[in-house]
Symmetry: C2
Subunit: 273 residues, 2 copies
């Protein structure tokens, strides 16, 4: 027995179907399921091929698959409806009520959500990503252009957060790792002083930080309880003394850290949904 299969079927990349399906399936804890994404289902032929795969999964497991769909075109949706599965299509559920409310027909055209057609938003993402890469880990220091500068000890989540802020929201995020010298002085590093209003501190519980560092450099001074205690306390002192807003990242995903930073700082995203 292979368990129930969940299909994500899209005429585009499948990212929206996956996001929506994943959110829903996490509400059903104990269930094991197999996830299959079928992207670019944009022709009748491909839809029929998808139906064959869905029906084969139903036969193999003896359980009807669940399909999360984001199919814009009625003809393709109609083909998928012929499969032996529970089919939840997101466009079908919501386009009707939206058309009535907005008093206009939808275009029913595929490929808009993640197209390159929004060139301004696209350029903002690329520019912000390049900025994050160039201003990572205290390098470059083109802080004049930063929307926010993340400060914290090594492995507190600065780099992935900067990249997520760039790719998802077009926000220019730099990051500065507190060095041993910085931490011993308890003063704000001189390079950061002119940009005090852009700083945002990432905190992390010592036990969690030690675990992360231990995986990375087992039994090093870097991963030792003493060093981790010293660094987290000294960082906290720097944040407090200088009135730097902070977030405890211990229990947060990168998405959550990013959105909480936008909320706390009031930094405006350059890309809006």
């Amino acid at each position: 027995m292979t368990g129930r299969t969940v299909f994500f079927v899209s005429d585009q990349t499948g990212v929206t179907a996956e996001t929506m399906g994943h959110s829903l399936m996490t509400q059903f804890d104990g269930l094991q399921f197999r996830a299959v994404t079928l992207p670019f289902v944009s022709t009748i032929d491909k839809a029929e091929e998808a139906v064959r795969r869905i029906n084969a999964a139903a036969l193999e497991s003896g359980l009807r698959p669940v399909i999360f769909g984001t199919l814009v075109q009625d003809e393709l949706r109609d083909v998928i409806k012929g499969s032996n599965a529970l089919f939840l299509d997101f466009f079908e559920a919501f386009v009707g009520p939206l058309e009535r409310e907005l008093g206009t027909a939808s275009s029913h055209s595929a490929g808009r959500a993640h197209g390159i057609s929004d060139t301004v938003g696209y350029a903002a993402r690329i520019d912000a990503t390049n900025y994050a890469l160039a201003n990572d880990d205290g390098s470059n220091r083109d802080y004049g252009r930063a929307d926010v500068i993340l400060v914290g000890v090594s492995r507190s989540g600065k780099t992935p957060t900067c990249l997520y802020l760039a790719m998802q929201y077009g926000v220019f995020a730099a990051n500065y790792p507190l060095t041993d010298d910085d931490l011993e002085s308890t003063r704000l590093p001189p390079g950061l002083q002119p940009f005090k209003n852009k700083l945002f501190g990432l905190r992390i519980a010592p036990a969690r930080l030690q675990q992360i560092r231990q995986e990375r450099r087992p039994n090093s001074r870097y991963a030792s309880p003493q060093q981790v205690q010293f660094e987290t306390r000294a960082a906290e002192a720097i944040f407090q003394r200088n009135g730097v807003s902070t977030l405890d990242t211990t229990e947060c995903s990168i998405e959550e850290i990013s959105v909480r930073i936008l909320e706390a700082t009031g930094v405006e995203r350059r890309i809006r949904p």
Copy 2:
């Protein structure tokens, strides 16, 4: 008049609500709307505050707002329902049919979709992101661990694609920029030869590449039609001569490039929805 406001209301980051709402609103071309995300609406107080903002937007514009919601808890959803708006809630629409199909009640617990609870997936994303950063632009060259190595000329989309593959799918993607020396020889760069089966080429139309480079370094040799023509032709020759699979990225978003690479190469994602 400010136009209609679209709200994304979530007990978590709002990423799912934004993804779903954005997909739908792109089906209504001509309409201008203002987007407002209200994340972390996780208490009755916050839900009531959201209702006040939604109603204020309705009054101000004279148009009922549209709300895309991902509220897991019925009590919070009930509060939002009291607002003067079209409320499309994604959990409300789909949880019922899923419960019936799966024969089990959902947990109705917030904060699962983007939580850190999936620690294996979380570690895979961070590891893959660190790998992409370390193996960007021909540096490091720890190609033995790569799932895929993207090859192309400067500004063909290699770096953002590697980062997206890492953050979204936990895939280890390195990238190698073809240098002038590489391009003049038409042979596969020696450092890539042992990893021929991992290579994937990104192509781009010369006109588009010239435009991108011109924005970056106006009137440089780098952005000249001659240089761009030479590089794109030489890269194409290297790909063809060495049987490297390729994708034309000219009209593709980073999401689409990433998913097409997974499709074409058969590389398995480490993170599944």
